[in-house]
Amino acid sequence: MSQPSKAAANSFGKRNGRAAALDRIFTGLVWGIGALVILFICGLLFLLLKNGLPKLTWDFLYGLPSEIEEGGGIGPALFNSFYLLFISLVISIPLGMAAGIYLAEFAPDNRLIGLIRICVEGLSSVPSIIFGLFGIALFVEMFQIGLTILGGAVSLAFLNLPVLTRVTEESIRSVPVELKNASFALGSTHLQTIRRVLIPVALSGIVTGICLTAGRAFGESAVIILTAGVTTSGEMWDFNLFSPGETLAVHLWYVQSEAIVPDAQEIAQKATSVLIFVVLLINLVFRVPLWFNSRKTKG
């Protein structure tokens, strides 16, 4: 016990020890760093958006790219971005969720499953270009279909699959066992418990995972360059799976490094702002239903 300080007006006055000082320094430090990081992120967003966003026009978003003259748009690339993302999610969400549910609920606890788990974990941090090379080997070399939207979308799906599997498994595992027991004790089958309790409760985590992978897939370039190419078919609304599938992120890289159009710099700035805006939008679109849902379920 240390002596109470002279300043203390009563016996419950401020502790004047080292611990209190450290506590205050620590609190200040955490606040300071937090504010700094937020400032940095906001500054970054501002820098990236300030040159592009004000100059955006519908013509740019919708227009066809130009090879030589200025004033080209990003229409087909933007469309391809969404199209590829959509197809890759259609493939990877069901597969990833199924695999995650299997690992969380059905997989026996043995070495083989342990090994598979390590592989999934490893795959989810493999550089994306590896998946691009795999895509080339599969679609260009083996199936000989060239650089296509299909090849790009499937390769993107492969890229996302391990992450989605892991996220699903972890989310399902984190559902309290009491809820599972409650469901089983009412006479539910395993499928009923998974459908009505485990997935709804785990949904927030799973959707967060989908958001992350969707954002990553939308901005992915290495895989797309290798499997879908750096050109588009030059038409808007080209749903053909076998067309070349340059996306916005690839287009951004292309105009910055290879293009000879005079306004390449401006196109890049505008494309950047579109890219960031869409990724933010994707997060918002996935989150809003969750907010409503949690308002309904939480106390």
Binding site: P176, N181, L186, G187, P200, V201, K296, T297, K298
Partner: protein, 251 residues
């Protein structure tokens, strides 16, 4: 009173651990039977064999026989889902689903194929009334179950269990996480429910067993030490170990 549950020479192993040793019991219909004993004595384990919740624990092995209403519940042609519909359970921690009050109670009936809104409304109302919760929640059935207090949540869990029309209600230390007033409410509720349901409760609280139950079973190290009318067991135990336990000398 007629025996509804008959347990014959039941042995249960968790891997190498012999958790229940040669347990034979007859549990009467429409009465409250309490299982008491120190932690790890096997009372919860026995309770969980009655609705086969132990099936989910890997490495559990069972020998012997448990009959409910004359049917061996571990025989091959018993569907565990149907069994659990008939043998409801209330857990130690209130565990409502993160859904609305209505959806919590309707969960069980929906599992078993009841879809009609009118029928569900009726089941929800009757179950909540039977669990003495209706008056408190009837105006906000759409509200989240998690907005209820702990005691209300536990009564909701009882309502949820009653909604599938069980014959037996297992209560696994159902009041140990509740305050005294909520505990009292659940005990009163159990008294009312015993006219329609066979209740088996595990309790840590000897006073509760003495207050509420008709029969009491005292377990020690996986064995049944004594089984008799509650009054007799607490006033005139025939086994020295029972006397030591209820007088607070151990456990």
């Amino acid at each position: 009173m007629q025996a509804l549950i008959q347990i014959e020479k039941l042995n249960l192993f968790y891997g190498a651990f012999h958790a229940l040793k040669n347990v034979s019991l007859e549990i009467p219909q429409r009465a409250i039977t309490a299982f008491i004993g120190p932690s790890g004595c096997g009372k919860s384990t026995l309770l969980r064999t009655l609705n086969r919740m132990n099936d989910m624990i890997q490495g559990t092995r069972i020998e012997g026989k448990i009959e409910i209403g004359g049917t061996d519940i571990y025989s091959g042609d018993v569907h565990v889902e149907t069994l659990r519909k008939k043998v409801g359970m209330v857990f130690q921690q209130p565990n409502p689903f993160p859904k609305s009050i209505y959806d919590n109670v309707a969960y069980g009936p929906r599992l078993h194929g009841i879809r009609g809104k009118k029928q569900l409304d009726e089941i929800v109302e009757n179950s909540l009334k039977a669990a003495a919760l209706w008056d408190e929640v009837k105006d906000h059935l759409k509200r989240s179950a998690l907005s209820l207090s702990g005691g209300q949540q536990q009564r909701l869990c009882i309502a949820r269990a009653l909604a599938v029309e069980p014959d037996i209600l297992l209560m696994d230390e159902a009041t140990s996480a509740l305050d005294p007033i909520s505990t009292l409410k659940i005990e009163e509720l159990a008294q009312e429910l015993k006219d329609k349901y066979t209740i088996v409760m595990v309790t840590h609280n000897m006073h509760q067993a003495a207050r509420v139950s008709h029969q009491t079973v005292f377990f020690l190290n996986g064995e049944v030490v004594e089984y008799s009318d509650t009054e007799k067991l607490f006033s005139d135990p025939s086994d020295q170990r029972t006397e030591d336990y209820i007088s607070g000398r151990f456990g």
